[in-house]
């Protein structure tokens, strides 16, 4: 199945716009240094990002470090138990789904860190020995802006291409096969999709180049946003319910991923005007979807999730396709299965709430 012509055109157009978006933090730094006359690269200060960071971050630093090491795992488990207690999995958490979710939650926590550590501590110093901390002169705000754009726009593209390039879909399918939303499926991914996450290695490289301090805060904030966007406890509901909060809702839903917009991405149908599984690709920022016209904002939640052509494939096929195949006949993950269960169409234009 070839890439649709109109989709290819849009990808090309949006990729060119992305070059400008990636350059924005650099342009902002040029303007800043021109205006202030600062030249921090001439008199390097050790840990300049630390020195130039807002004072309150010194107090928050241990919180963010703990969140990164064990806090998010505890938060995901706590939120998951609460979702389960509230009956939000609605008897859909079958033994097959349970197996996939648990393997996808646990295995990457043991298998990914050694790979990223090897990349950061061995490969980068070998390939770029003189570049360690070469950008440590970047002030905190610039590093924060740069990492936020670099990490999240890269994930937007990684995610979008897995939806729009037919041969890539099956690497991402596992994340969409869950017929429910919640902490149980938030980490549910094919392992090859996870291990080749472009933004993981991009951020690791930027940390190696000296942007580690702002990266700590960006990646923690991003994890919090993406985790809660997957939760079946919709934290954004009050913002739509109370009129006084509508202006905040208007900004929030365009800036970051919310349960409403991200749940729409996981809908199994777009027929109700709420689901938008061929759009709403944003992870931390929904802004990319607004800019590229791949977003749909309705302030409503889909009634059903997953994929229409799901055959409850074995956990090993969902986790390790194409290394292991499904025995389910006609499955996308079987040896002779179709590349994509339904055709790839153009994405809708942004609809305002």
């Amino acid at each position: 199945m070839a890439l649709d012509q109109s989709a290819a055109k849009k990808i090309t157009r949006d990729a060119l716009i992305s070059v400008i978006l990636y350059a924005l933090p650099v342009i902002a730094l040029v303007v800043w240094f021109t205006y202030t006359g600062e030249t921090p690269w001439k008199n390097p200060v050790k840990d300049y990002a630390h020195v130039s960071a807002p004072a309150f971050l010194t107090f928050l630093e241990p919180v963010f470090k703990n969140l990164k090491s064990w806090g998010f795992i505890a938060l995901a488990l706590g939120l998951g138990v609460l979702e389960f207690a509230l009956g939000l999995y609605d008897n859909k958490w079958t033994p097959t789904e349970r197996k996939i979710d648990i393997v996808c939650f646990l295995a990457p926590k043991f298998l990914v860190p050694p790979v990223v550590a090897y990349f950061s501590l061995t490969l980068l110093p070998t390939l770029l020995p003189s570049y360690a901390n070469v950008f440590s002169w970047v002030p905190f705000w610039g590093g924060f802006f740069l990492i936020a754009v670099a990490d999240d726009l890269t994930q937007y593209w990684y995610h979008r291409l897995h939806h729009q390039i037919p041969f890539m879909w099956r690497f991402h399918r596992t994340h969409h096969s869950a017929p429910y939303m919640g902490m149980a499926m938030a980490s549910r991914q094919n392992f090859i999709y996870t291990i080749f996450f472009s933004q993981t290695y991009l951020t690791a490289t930027l940390i190696y180049l000296g942007l580690g301090y702002p990266a700590l805060f960006v990646t923690a904030i991003k994890s919090l946003i993406t985790m809660t966007a997957h939760s079946s406890i919709a934290w954004d509901k009050p913002f739509y319910k109370y009129r006084i909060l509508h202006p905040i809702a208007w900004v929030l839903e365009r800036l970051i991923s919310t349960p409403a917009t991200h749940h729409a991405h996981h809908a199994d149908s777009a027929d109700d005007g709420i689901g938008n599984y061929k759009g709403n690709f944003g992870n931390m920022f929904f802004l990319w979807d607004v800019i590229f016209g791949t977003g749909l904002i309705t302030r409503q939640y889909p009634t059903s999730y997953g994929i229409k052509f799901y055959k409850e494939e074995e956990w090993y096929a969902q986790f390790l396709w194409p290394l292991f195949k499904s025995k389910k006949e006609g499955s996308e993950l079987s040896a002779d299965g179709p590349e994509v269960g339904d055709e790839v169409e153009a994405t809708p234009e942004l609809i305002n709430a």
């Binding site: 240094f33 006359g37 690269w41 990684y158 690497f171 090859i192 290695y201 194409p322 290394l323």
Partner: protein, 40 residues
């Protein structure tokens, strides 16, 4: 794993590398240029 699967895997890794390398080139190149652009 069939030859077709190896091809798909190789193409997928290729896309991942491209999605990694393009922003790195823009940002790395841009930050390196700052020193040259701002001569005080």
């Amino acid at each position: 794993m069939a030859t077709q699967d190896v091809k798909i895997l190789a193409k997928k890794i290729g896309v991942s590398i491209l999605v990694y390398a393009i922003p790195l080139a823009i940002l790395g190149g841009g930050l390196s240029l700052i020193k040259l652009l701002i001569i005080k």
